[in-house]
């Protein structure tokens, strides 16, 4: 079962406060969409509105082409997985899984069959008689997912489902959720503030801030071609470097350096004036320019070995740059380095609006 989800002109208010105003979002059948943003950006509000748990002040919600703006949660063909799992603590796993079907008044044989199927699929069969308190965190999360599966939901809604788990379990369950999506092909909408979850799970990511979608695109586009400075800052760790300078002709002027912009794909013809150059840490090289161009003299101030890579902090012209270097690099604080920028892969932002140029 799968369905498309279309939001148009959606407006959500809390009293006099407008949380979301005129939001449009179109999600294809079977797509895995991640709503990503810092806390308070409206991503959970948006998810609750799709679920029917949050009243909508204006606009339209369509699920599978049908108008669901005012429909009850149970009639929307959705299943939802909550951050706190929200399992019924006094019921066994079996009754947790069957509660929705029993509420809908389905025949006992059908309920038993579907609960057995889902339990088998999620490897929960040995735990059916247990109460949630007697399960591990990962098992509880699987029960929560099972509760949505049992209902044969066309759209799965996940509200930060992994943020209560420890790091190792989080990685394991992330993979399980991805496998689940490949297997059942239902539409999935997944709220998180974790960029790793967003990058690894999403077919497309909607980066949100202040109740607005900043960019809605594939993980690759979001990472490599961020639509504005907020998206660029939010995605990627260590954070992108931002250099404030000027565009002059086909060059970026910064600290007396003239950086070549001829390989940069401008959206519109560039105009001379102040701008911000964004450089991912992996696009700053310590090995000097490959093409024999000018190198920037810098001094390394901090070395953070991560294993597969090493993050260097280097100072040049009063700015500190984050650099992603090879894991086997030998660097010491105080050491001099010759830096080169991978200019065609940089991002240029308007100094005033922060929009990509």
């Amino acid at each position: 079962m799968t369905a498309s989800v279309t939001l148009s002109g959606l407006r959500i208010e809390y009293g006099h406060h407008v949380a979301i105003d005129g939001l449009d979002l179109s999600i294809r059948e079977g797509e895995f969409v991640v709503l990503l943003g810092p806390s308070g950006c409206g991503k959970s509000t948006l998810l609750n509105a799709i679920a029917g748990l949050e009243p909508v002040a204006g606009g339209r919600i369509e699920i599978g082409g049908a108008d669901m703006t005012r429909a009850l949660p149970k009639d929307r063909g959705i299943g939802m997985v909550f951050q706190s799992y929200a399992l019924y603590p006094h019921m066994s796993v079996e009754r947790n899984l069957s509660f929705a079907l029993a509420s809908a008044g389905r025949p006992k044989r059908e309920i038993a069959q579907r609960v057995a199927d889902v339990a088998g699929m999620l490897q929960l069969t040995p735990y059916l008689k247990r109460k949630p308190a007697a399960l591990s965190g990962g098992q509880r999360q699987r029960v929560a997912i099972g509760r949505a599966l049992v209902r044969e939901a066309a759209v799965f809604l996940f509200d930060e489902p992994l943020s209560n788990l420890d790091a190792k379990l989080r990685n394991d369950l992330r993979v399980e959720i991805k496998k689940l999506h490949q297997r059942i092909a239902s539409t999935m909408i997944y709220v998180t503030h974790d960029q790793v979850e967003a990058m690894t799970l999403g077919d497309r990511i909607a980066v949100m801030k202040g109740g607005e979608i900043q960019q809605f695109d594939t993980p690759e586009e979001i990472y490599h071609r961020p639509a504005n400075r907020f998206v660029a800052e939010f995605m990627g760790a260590p954070m992108m470097n931002f250099l404030e300078g000027r565009i002059e002709g086909r060059s970026f002027l910064w600290q007396g350096q003239r950086l070549d912009l001829s390989g940069y794909g401008f959206r519109t013809a560039p105009q001379d004036g102040p701008a911000v150059l964004g450089l991912r840490p992996e696009h700053v090289h310590t090995t000097g320019p490959a093409d024999g161009g000018t190198a920037l003299a810098a001094q390394i101030t901090l070395v953070e070995p991560m294993g597969p890579e090493t993050v260097l902090w280097a100072e040049t012209g009063g700015e500190t740059l984050r650099i992603r270097a090879a894991g086997d690099i030998h660097a010491e604080p105080g050491q001099a380095a010759a830096l080169a920028f991978d200019m065609p892969r940089a991002a240029l932002f308007d100094a005033a609006t922060g929009e990509r140029l």
Partner: protein, 285 residues
């Protein structure tokens, strides 16, 4: 054990023993006196152990002592109290659970105002309402009947019960309620299948609080129950204050212990549950 720790221990036990004596001694005096005869009581004083266990005062208190004009003992009062307490406790606790659930999760319009009124209702002294309630119950023709006293206990009990349940439900994760909505459960199904079973600890507290309070009530029973339904506390008062000839302290004490027996038993049997219910803030899933 170090010296200071030992001293602390001694001080702690001294305090606990004193506290136990303060509460235990009156109980001892009552029980001991009720098992004596009046001549024995006069000879030995109130702290002496009874020479033989003489149950005649208890029998007298239960079936023979005079409460006002009739001399049938305190047993009719006991059954009257049962008839008042059981429906009153059932109704107030159920209504409190339902109100608390509705106000916490469904947030009806004006729920803030309602809550304020409930707090007011729970803590205003009941005497203020006596006269208007007498007038009102007379007007609808049930003044001084069993339904009247039950209605009165409900009116005075529901605000506190609502606050109790609301406090408990506010501590439950709201996502539980949302999940049940997604699962297609409506107002009643969420209440009966999820929220009421989850509130078991606080329900125990509520039942204990209410049954003790209603059992111990004197004023409302006296005013509203009517002559046929006077609760045990009122009849106890009548026994103790009815003086014909010699005052028989042994019967008074036996009647008093009998009246106190129900709340005492409730606390002794459910003390563990009571503490557990009061401290059970969150039911973790």
């Amino acid at each position: 054990m170090t010296r200071s720790a030992l001293l602390q221990r001694i001080a702690l036990y001294a305090f606990l023993l004193t506290a136990a004596a303060i509460f235990g001694l009156p109980l001892y005096v009552m029980v001991a006196t009720s098992l004596k005869s009046m001549p024995e009581l006069r000879e030995t004083g109130i702290f002496a152990l009874p020479r033989a266990l003489d149950p005649s005062a208890w029998r007298m208190a239960w079936t023979g002592a005079c409460t006002g004009l009739t001399c049938g003992g305190i047993s009719p009062g006991f059954w009257n109290s049962v008839k008042i307490v059981v429906p009153s406790v059932g109704l107030t606790v159920l209504a409190g659970a339902l109100n608390g659930y509705a106000m916490t999760f469904w947030k009806p319009p004006l729920s803030g105002l309602l809550l304020g009124l409930m707090v007011l209702g729970a803590f205003l002294p009941h005497q203020i309402f006596l006269y208007p309630l007498v007038q009102w119950l007379s007007a609808i023709g049930i003044y001084q009947t069993l339904p009247a006293i039950i209605v009165i206990h409900c009116i005075f009990g529901i605000p506190l019960m609502t606050l109790l349940f609301r406090g408990y439900y506010s501590g439950l994760p709201r996502q539980l309620f949302l999940a049940a909505q997604i699962d297609g459960a409506g107002f009643w199904r969420i209440f009966l299948c999820i929220m009421l079973p989850l509130a078991a600890p606080v329900t125990v507290v509520a039942v204990i609080l209410q049954s003790t309070a209603i059992w111990n009530d004197f004023l409302l029973g006296l005013v509203f129950a009517g002559r046929e339904n006077l609760p045990m506390t009122v009849q106890l008062n009548n026994i103790v204050n009815t003086v014909t000839g010699e005052r028989d302290y042994t019967v008074d004490m036996a009647a008093t212990v009998l009246t106190a027996l129900v709340p005492l038993a409730i606390f002794l049997l459910s003390g563990r549950w009571f503490v557990r219910g009061i401290t059970a803030g969150a039911v973790k899933g």
